[in-house]
Symmetry: C2
Subunit: 137 residues, 2 copies
């Protein structure tokens, strides 16, 4: 994750302890925290960090393309630091748990022109929905 910090510094990001802590909290695979969860974990390391700063920092990371914003359920958005490897999400309808999954040989053939209604299509999102082992009891 220090390479992330390097990259950000290179882009002219002013490095503050708050931003560093938020970046640290977002490290790892299969991490999909809500802004509030990020705040709680960040505050454990830096108690005086404010909610507004967490929201600001997450928003900046998303704009910079370092973090992906995922809203799978209409509740709180989740933040996925695994932005540099394309992947899809497997979501539990019970508890909302999310796992990253990788596309097989399935390149999501582009939408044919006659189905585009004049849109410029830029991305495709695939979400698998199901029930996780813990919720399946």
């Amino acid at each position: 994750m220090s390479d992330l910090l390097e990259r950000l510094r290179g882009r002219g990001w002013r490095m503050t302890s708050q931003r560093r802590v938020v970046a640290e909290v977002l490290d790892g695979d299969h991490v999909h925290l809500t802004a509030d969860e990020v705040h709680v974990r960040a505050a454990a390391k830096l108690p005086e960090i404010s909610r507004a700063t967490v929201y600001n920092t997450l928003g900046e990371l998303v704009s910079l393309g370092e973090v992906i914003e995922v809203s799978t359920d209409g509740r709180a958005k989740r933040y996925d630091p695994n932005a540099h490897r394309p992947h899809q999400h497997l979501v539990c309808s019970g508890c909302g748990a999310i796992r990253d999954v990788r596309p097989q040989g399935n390149p999501l053939s582009d939408l044919p022109a006659e189905e585009r209604y004049g849109f410029t299509v830029e991305a495709v999102e695939v979400t698998y929905r199901g029930v996780c082992p813990s919720c399946a009891t």
Copy 2:
């Protein structure tokens, strides 16, 4: 849409003027209203209908599988009455407009077992993101 009302009555739904009005508002193709928009349009026909009833009714229609809940942007959920023909969504990142599109081949190839993390996979959602003609200026 009267066939919808028939189906609901058949399932033991008590038919009230509020429910009828909500069902009418949701009629048509490419309809993806927010709960609030449904409330405004319903209130135009039945002024005393309450927000809570609109939410209740939409929730019931979703449970019954007659309407699909779509949350594409972390803002208000949208309600899609076109639940009986499988389809995908094309969403404008600018204004949030949604169009229904139909799958070409069969992009829903199941997730391979080794990628399921023990989940029971029940559905796949595909969302194309882009910019609509009006926002492309």
